[in-house]
């Protein structure tokens, strides 16, 4: 799932026009390792720019996908997701008025999500320089998310003037992991445990993520 976001980040950064956006990853994990995930990409804060951008064919030599191309790509992703063993209840939406896209599914175990990520990387021929995966050990009750930093987006960002880079300060990546069991501890420095101890949230600025100042890796121990 994360590859999709990185791809999107690279695309957005390269276009360097859509400086405000939110990416939310919301995972709901049951004790037996099954659960659901919902990914949301919200560009509505930049909808005026995105709407203008979509009218163009190319920006700085980078092709701007049309609505139908985005729809086709998402359909491909959904198709792949549906074919992935252990994945069910795949749902998606695309709102071209507010530029919000969502994709959600249920999984029997987090390994299915990893399999899907790999399929997606192959399908889009994405360079797997950054790799994100989940793991959950029902016995030890440890949920982990591993994340390797990729400098692809940073290279794109470096092409911009510093004052322009600042415009990305209003772009965020949010990860929320919810559990049936209480969280004992989590080891990401920006991660926070909810009041009811059932969730961990990491909200990081895209600039920090792109520059490698923060990591999305986390190991969460449950009670």
């Amino acid at each position: 799932m994360h590859r999709w976001f990185v791809g999107l980040l690279v695309f957005i950064t390269t276009l360097s026009l859509t400086s405000c956006f939110d990416v939310v990853e919301d995972v709901n994990l049951k004790s037996n390792g099954s659960g659901s995930i919902k990914a949301t990409v919200n560009l509505s804060k930049s909808k005026v720019k995105v709407a203008s951008l979509m009218k163009l064919d190319k920006v700085d030599g980078v092709k701007v996908p049309s609505k139908s191309e985005i729809q086709t790509e998402l359909n491909d992703v959904v198709k792949l997701l549906r074919q992935t063993p252990g994945i069910s209840n795949v749902q998606h939406s695309l709102d071209f008025n507010n530029f919000i896209g969502t994709l959600s599914c249920d999984f029997t175990n987090v390994g299915a999500l990893n399999a899907f990520t790999k399929t997606l990387s192959t399908h889009f021929k994405a360079k797997v320089s950054s790799y994100s995966s989940y793991s959950y050990d029902a016995k030890t009750k440890v949920f982990a998310r591993s994340y390797t930093y990729s400098d692809e987006a940073k290279k794109g960002l470096a092409k911009l003037k510093p004052e322009n880079q600042k415009s990305f300060s209003d772009a965020y990546f949010t990860s929320i992991y919810r559990f049936q069991d209480n969280v004992l501890k989590q080891d990401n420095k920006v991660g926070k445990i909810s009041d009811n101890k059932k969730a961990v949230m990491m909200r990081v600025g895209v600039l920090d993520l792109v520059n490698g100042n923060v990591s999305l890796s986390n190991q969460i121990s449950l009670k």
């Binding site: 360097s16 509505s44 909808k47 005026v48 507010n98 911009l160």
Partner: protein, 662 residues
């Protein structure tokens, strides 16, 4: 390598640009369709020769020459060409060949001869020293005062005519010619070599297909351009590598590049005959020109070049040229129609003028009498003076286009009938009928009242608008809810206006719009309901015979309450007033605009964008029809730091050459 190519190109341009052509126009044949005059004096008066030499030296132009030159020129003045006289280039077309010639004045023959590369063989042809291009389709001869350049391009269609093919021994069609041989070869190959390979089923099937193809070809030669290669029957490749099989088939002799070799040799045969002919024709044409065998081009057809005009192009009888490129018979074969290429344009003239730091392209098209009268009526319309105050000095750009709606509607059917009907003779009656119905059906006067034909579109700076967006709010347990928030966004502001003496139709549309809930009435200013999420809301206002459409509510309110206090910028007003079409872009405002719109600029183009601030306006204008000419002008105002536009452009080249050197 690249540098040398550039140096050669620069030399070519300079040689064309630099020459003493006091009377060289006399050497241009009277029937040249295109004549380009280069005013060398004007070019070099606008440039600092010392700087120019420095740039050219840095670009390696003289090094290249020095490598095999006796006199070793190190300055542009030492190339032997006259930098103070005019040079000419021209195009003369016949049905069989298109000649492209140039006449370059010389100031010093010996100097010029010194730059001829040593490896070039100088021959004496028509008593003149002469060199040829490798394929001899380009000839360059010179005397004491002039370099004569002439090249020829064979007209493809001419060499496809049957009588021409027979006359010169060309091969009619490379594909046709190969068919018979190829078909035979395929049969042979199928019968013999294929069996040697160990997949009989495939081979048999392929052989059968090939034989069928061969038979079909021999029987229906004129219908087939080329015998299809044998089709491979499905081969069971489960145990074998498919690619290996394909490779092994391709490795067989009959699958070699034989066909292409043969095709290539036919093409070469034809090309060599054509080249021979072109070579002979070029020689004959130059001989005729040198001997004064052609009447001179009428110099009166060319304007006197001012001290600031660096080049001029004159094209006459423009569409007759198409006769050769796309002869009627060819089009008739293809489309079943014989169009007459006549759009009422007799000729085209254009000049490049250096006007201080402005570089202008000034052009005109000479219309035939009929077309001129139509367009004169159509362009008989001026912009409503009430729009002038909107041409503020800070506008980002504007576009004004004025036509007389009544004349346009009245003349359009005639234009269609006269000029476009001819292109489709089969349908000319239909076009006439359509034109007549158009004429009857439309009440031109009534329409002209509704839309008078004057238009002004102004792109003002930016305006701030409130835009809603979706955000998320999280509770203590990180459950989130979607919330709608509002932010202020900066968007470009536009205003489009046109005159209307009869606004009833717009009022009716507004009435329906409001009823259908598509328009919101803000006390006489109508908001077009925006549901596409673009954040750009459009407003409509009708006031005193003027219709305003824009996206800035505040401005609309000011217009409505007569509080709009804008003042027209005199040069912009003059431009809009004088011209039927004017488009202007205030280039220097781009960097500010990019900043205001928060559009990030990549470092690589940062310098270029910043430099735009020093540019003046870019504009395009047309005064409509004057006499029988429709005229237009395009101008770019460069930064005023090198004295004039040409010097600025050379400075850009110079800086580029410095970078190249680094």
């Amino acid at each position: 390598m690249y540098l040398h190519k550039f140096a050669a190109l620069a030399l070519g341009i300079l040689m064309t640009l630099t020459s003493n052509a006091q009377d060289l126009i006399r050497k241009v044949p009277h029937d040249a369709k295109v004549v380009v005059s280069f005013n060398n004096k004007a070019v070099f008066d606008h440039l600092n020769i010392a700087d120019l030499n420095l740039t050219l030296t840095r670009l390696g132009l003289f090094d290249k020459m020095n490598s095999d030159s006796k006199l070793r020129p190190s300055k542009i003045e030492e190339l032997g060409v006259d930098l103070k006289a005019k040079a000419y280039a021209y195009v003369r077309s016949t049905d069989s060949v298109q000649y492209i010639g140039a006449l370059i004045p010389l100031s010093n023959k010996s100097q010029f001869e010194s730059i001829i590369p040593k490896h070039k063989k100088v021959e004496i042809v028509n008593s003149l020293p002469t060199i040829y291009s490798a394929d001899r389709s380009l000839r360059l001869s010179w005397d004491e005062n002039t370099v004569y350049v002439l090249g020829g391009l064979a007209m493809d269609y001419y060499f496809r005519k049957e009588d021409v093919i027979n006359r010169y021994g060309l091969i009619a069609n490379a594909y046709d010619a190969y068919e018979a041989e190829y078909a035979e070869a395929v049969v042979d190959s199928a019968a013999t070599t294929w069996d040697a390979y160990d997949f009989d089923a495939a081979a048999d099937s392929a052989a059968a297909d090939a034989a069928r193809a061969a038979t079909a070809v021999s029987e229906e030669e004129e219908e087939y351009e080329l015998a299809a290669p044998p089709i491979l029957a499905p081969v069971d490749t489960t145990d074998e590598d498919e690619y290996a099989i394909v490779d092994s088939i391709l490795a067989q002799d009959e699958y070699s590049d034989d066909y292409y070799n043969r095709y290539d040799s036919i093409t070469r045969h034809n090309d060599s005959i054509k080249n021979d002919l072109v070579k002979q024709w070029v020689n004959a044409e130059m001989e005729l020109m040198l001997a004064g065998g052609y009447k001179s081009f009428d110099a009166k057809k060319l304007p006197k070049l001012s001290a600031n005009t660096i080049a001029h192009i004159h094209a006459t009888d423009v569409f007759s040229y198409y006769k050769y490129l796309y002869p009627e018979e060819a089009l008739s074969e293809l489309f079943g129609v014989k169009p007459k290429f006549d759009y009422g344009i007799d000729g085209i003239d254009a000049s490049i003028v250096v006007d201080g730091n402005k570089l202008k392209f000034v052009g005109s098209a000479t219309l035939d009498k009929e077309m001129a009268s139509y367009y004169k009526e159509i362009y008989n319309k001026k912009l409503n003076p009430k729009f002038y105050p909107f041409l503020d000095k800070d506008v980002l750009g504007f576009f004004s286009f004025n036509v007389n709606t009544e004349a346009y509607l009245k003349n359009l059917p005639k234009i269609m009938e006269s000029y476009y009907g001819s292109f489709m003779p089969r349908y000319s009656n239909m076009v006439s009928l359509g034109a007549m119905l158009f004429d009857i059906a439309l009440d031109q006067k009534a329409i002209a009242k509704v839309i008078k034909g004057d238009n002004l579109f102004v792109l003002n700076g930016v305006t701030k608008v409130d835009v809603t967006y979706t955000d998320y709010e999280y509770d203590d347990d990180y459950n989130y809810t979607e919330v709608e928030k509002t932010k202020t966004e900066t968007i470009p502001q536009f205003l489009w206006m046109f005159s209307s003496d009869d606004t009833r139709i717009f009022e009716k549309i507004i009435q329906i719009g409001v009823q259908e809930n598509e328009l919101v009435d803000h006390d006489g200013i109508y908001e077009v309901k925006e549901n596409k999420g673009s954040g750009i809301t459009v407003y409509l206002l009708i006031k005193q015979g003027m219709v305003f459409i824009g996206n800035d509510m505040a401005k609309m309110e000011m217009i409505k309450s007569n509080h709009y206090s804008g003042k027209g910028h005199a040069p912009y007003v003059a431009m809009a007033k004088k011209n039927n079409l004017s488009l202007l872009f205030n280039t220097k405002r781009i960097p500010v605009l990019l900043e205001e719109l928060d559009i990030p600029v990549e470092r690589s183009i940062e310098e270029t964008v910043a430099e735009l601030q020093q540019y003046g306006d870019f504009y395009m204008t047309s005064t409509g029809v004057k006499g029988n000419k429709v005229t237009g002008e395009i101008a770019v105002e460069f930064p005023n730091r090198n004295g004039n536009a040409l010097a600025f452009l050379f400075d850009v080249l110079d800086r580029w050459s410095l970078k190249l050197k680094e």
